[in-house]
């Protein structure tokens, strides 16, 4: 803390409580001009909450924020912007119905002398910003026409449209492709050179070690440590984060060749995927790898009956099954744990036990009439099996933490006693500790004879867990790999569509 001068922003003893959760407890954070500070911590450590406090979206319950040593009160997002703090938030918070330029400038658009919005100037300025970050689209384009990655670029442009001294990036690379990530790194360098203080939040350690100058670690809403990146290595950082050493070993698996459970032939969809076919055996874990947006989720949802394929056949235990709705899928023993937990998984507003029994009501009820005792019995059985942490079974599932919500969703499906379970990004946004638990559990399910399809974008997870991997690219199967072919380079090559054979030696 010596050579870099005094911090631009300094948070001290900041506390923030949500009903039932102490999200931040007396944390501190300093950001220095011309330096990138990485904020690391497990899921729920309070990183995003810190961002929201710095940008005036939440008000802290206690503590002080100083800018250039002077205490400030950031009550609204506009206060924060006026103080020179800008952020790219974890969620894309933009407006589909407005144009790109308006998304960049909403809330602080240039005005004419009459006080009206100066459209010409706004588009000029937006074009300049987009140019700077290499965005390949125009300022008049309505946002809804952009893909998720391009939307992220708009969010970045928006953050840069404020003449800021502090730029915050909350997992900015999560949705970006390799090339765009490189461009982002360059941008960070430029910003650094301009003397801006940057707060960078990421779960990817390679990234952190590549661009950060300093680090701050939070654990369970509390400050743990900070310092210079140069003085620390990855293992030490992880240890501070988790509070213990983690050497993540994937559970050992002994795949046995068993009978075929599921066979998919020639699944087509007019716009999203084509010609998908594979077989799945009892007790097998089949990985689906691909770059984000390769169409894996789309296909899985179609297999689960959400969207209808234009052609294709699905056979369960050798018999052809027509699956037109999730109800059909469940009836045939196929269940799907979706990627978007909050929207598609848990039914927030209903108690835990009702969430768990929802697809199994046919079994717990008699002639269509509910039997609460049976429901509680079923719910208790599966919540205990998954080690659910909750105050009671009639508590609203919305009050649970994300990880426990995920458990409820899995319990819901296991209670239907399925034959095939599809897990879509089961560890996405889950911290290292919980990740291992999910992996153990998957292995256990497979060992019990359940067939598992795991969609994942993380190479170590795919390789560590799968018996076999299907790589998808642009809505089609690019390769099916197993055994010795299961190497990171092969996966990446197929996923990215690089046709030249990989050099045997790296």
């Amino acid at each position: 803390m010596t050579e870099s001068g005094s911090p631009v922003v300094s948070m001290d003893a900041i506390t923030k409580t949500f009903p039932g959760v102490k999200a931040l407890d007396q944390v501190r954070l300093d950001l220095y001009p011309g330096q990138v500070t990485a904020l690391v911590g497990e899921n729920g450590a309070g990183k995003s909450t810190t961002v929201k406090i710095l940008t005036g979206i939440y008000r802290p319950d206690g503590g002080t924020i100083r800018i250039d040593g002077n205490p400030v009160d950031l009550t609204t997002p506009n206060d924060a912007a006026a103080s020179g703090i800008t952020a790219i938030h974890q969620e894309t918070v933009l407006f589909d119905e407005l144009s790109v330029a308006e998304n960049v400038f909403i809330g602080h658009a240039p005005r004419t002398r009459l006080g009206l919005i100066d459209r010409a100037e706004m588009h000029r300025a937006a074009a300049r910003l987009l140019d700077e970050i290499g965005a390949p689209f125009g300022t008049h384009t309505p946002l809804r026409e952009l893909g998720i990655a391009n939307k992220h670029l708009v969010a970045i442009a928006r953050a840069l449209s404020v003449d800021a001294r502090v730029v915050i990036m909350d997992e900015p690379t999560a949705a970006l492709s390799h090339k765009e990530i490189e461009e982002l790194y360059e941008l960070v360098e430029t910003l650094k050179a301009q003397g801006k203080a940057i707060l960078f939040i990421s779960h990817k350690f390679d990234e952190i070690f590549r661009i950060a100058d300093r680090y701050t670690v939070f654990r369970d809403g509390a400050f743990v440590a900070d310092g210079e990146i140069a003085d620390i290595d990855e293992n030490a950082l992880v240890k501070m984060m988790v509070g213990r050493a983690v050497d993540h070993i994937f559970p050992a698996r002994r795949p046995t060749v068993a009978e075929e459970v599921l066979q998919v032939v020639g699944y087509d969809h007019p716009t999203e995927f084509a010609d998908i076919g594979f077989r799945l055996h009892r007790g097998e874990i089949l990985g689906f790898y691909g770059l984000v947006g390769a169409g894996r989720s789309e296909f899985m949802q179609s297999l689960f009956g959400i969207t209808r394929p234009s052609k294709g056949v699905c056979k369960m235990n050798g018999k052809i099954r027509v699956i037109r709705s999730p109800a059909d899928a469940v009836a045939n023993g196929i269940v799907y744990v979706p990627e978007d937990r909050g929207k598609q998984g848990a039914i927030i507003g209903l108690p835990i036990f009702q969430n768990i029994t929802l697809p199994s009501l046919g079994r717990t009820s008699r002639n269509g009439f509910l039997q609460l005792a049976e429901e509680f019995k079923l719910a208790r059985e599966y919540s205990e099996r998954l080690d659910l942490r909750a105050a009671s079974l009639d508590q609203d599932v919305g009050n649970l933490s994300g990880g426990n919500q995920q458990k409820v969703v899995i319990a819901k499906w296991l209670a239907t006693q399925p034959q095939v379970i599809i897990l879509d990004e089961p560890t996405k946004g889950i911290d290292i500790g919980s990740k291992a638990a999910v992996h153990e559990f998957m292995a256990e399910l497979a060992a019990q004879g359940l067939s598992v399809i795991m969609v994942s974008s993380e190479i170590p997870e795919v390789i560590g867990m799968s018996d076999r991997v299907i790589v998808m690219r642009d809505g089609r199967i690019a390769a099916e790999l197993s055994g010795d072919d299961l190497r990171p380079e092969t996966l990446v090559r197929h996923a990215a569509g690089i046709s030249t054979p990989a050099p045997q030696e790296a």
Binding site: V93, E97, L98, I106
Partner: protein, 327 residues
């Protein structure tokens, strides 16, 4: 590819209106005479003004069912003021009407903003409360033409450049809204709040406050219309404009304002109102029983909403397309 979607929607609506006019003209040519069209516009002016106010409210994901009751209460109040103080100049009357309407809008807005009661519940309640209040203040009695001052009833029909002031009021509202929605921060915030309230918070826009302002705007316009209405028909009583709120919402829906908020345009709302106005004025002229009117406007709403939903349907992500294009 470039989004000309909204203008297309409006062009179709405008086309429908022209077809309608042509059909009417084929049976009664006088209907499309400029003087008569001006009449139809004048007749539709209150609907246009209210539809614009309602549009703002709907854009922010709310709904204002109390506009007609607000209109009636303001109308009765200014009529009674006029009876009590016939000498009060018209600008003062108009200011009172707008202020009173805005206050009623503010009541709706505050209940939505500060107590987060769903707008449909709030305005359902205030609708009956405002209506009942008219009865309380007037004792159920009518205010008739001869009790009103000549200046009071004369203002909306006074001609200016060939059009009555009532029409000019609608034209002025359209222009002000055109500028407000497109070129002011408030206008853009209204779209933003309706389009994505969550993101609006991050953009520093106060969602509740914007909804509050939308209700105030809608209320103020209802107040203004209240005076114009009462003065034009030269009568005020408890039930004036009864059920008009649904016609106003219908005009918005026909004009392509999405009930889910965030999507819509000034042109759409105006054309939606004009469509209903033309239907309403044309039926007696072409000798279709007026009993058909209700069914026709109902069908128009259904067709419009089905059409708008089709035009606005999400097109999926189209992952496969990239395989067609050279990589």
């Amino acid at each position: 590819m470039v989004s000309r979607l909204i203008p297309v929607r409006e062009a179709i609506l405008a086309g429908a209106i022209l077809v309608l006019l042509a059909l009417v003209a084929s049976r009664f040519a006088g209907f499309v005479a400029p003087a008569n069209l001006a009449n139809v516009f004048n007749d539709t002016a209150p609907l246009i003004i209210l539809a614009l106010g309602q549009m703002v409210v709907i854009l922010t994901r709310c709904i204002d069912l109390s506009v007609a009751a607000n209109l009636a209460l303001t109308g009765m109040t200014v009529a009674m003021i006029n009876v009590a103080m016939p000498g009060l100049p018209i600008p003062v009357i108009i200011a009172v009407a707008i202020a009173l309407g805005a206050v009623m809008g503010a009541i709706n807005g505050l209940l939505v903003w500060k107590l987060s009661i769903p707008p449909i519940v709030v305005t359902l309640g205030t609708m009956t409360i405002f209506r009942g209040t008219i009865f309380l203040i007037s004792d159920g009695k009518w205010v008739n033409a001869h009790e009103m001052s000549a200046a009071f009833t004369g203002f909306p029909r006074a001609a200016f450049l060939g059009l009555p002031v009532l029409s000019w009021a609608a034209i002025a509202t359209i222009l002000v809204f055109g500028v407000m929605m497109a070129r002011t921060p408030l206008g853009r915030s209204i779209f933003a709040v309706g389009g994505n309230p969550h993101a609006a918070v991050y953009a520093g826009i106060d969602v509740g406050r914007t909804q509050f302002l939308a209700f105030v705007i809608s209320g103020a316009l209802a107040g203004l219309t209240g005076y114009l209405w009462v003065a034009r028909y030269a009568v005020a009583y408890v039930d004036i404009a009864g059920g008009f709120e649904l016609e106003v919402v219908a005009a918005c829906v026909i004009g392509g304002i999405s009930i889910a908020g965030g999507i819509g345009s000034v042109g759409g709302a105006v054309l939606g109102a004009i469509f209903l106005g033309v239907v309403k004025n044309a039926l007696p002229v072409v000798d279709i029983s007026p009993f058909w009117q209700l069914a026709i406007s109902g069908s128009a709403i259904l067709i419009a909403v089905a059409f708008n939903a089709r035009a606005g349907k999400a097109r999926g992500r189209i992952i496969l397309k990239s395989t067609v294009a050279p990589t």
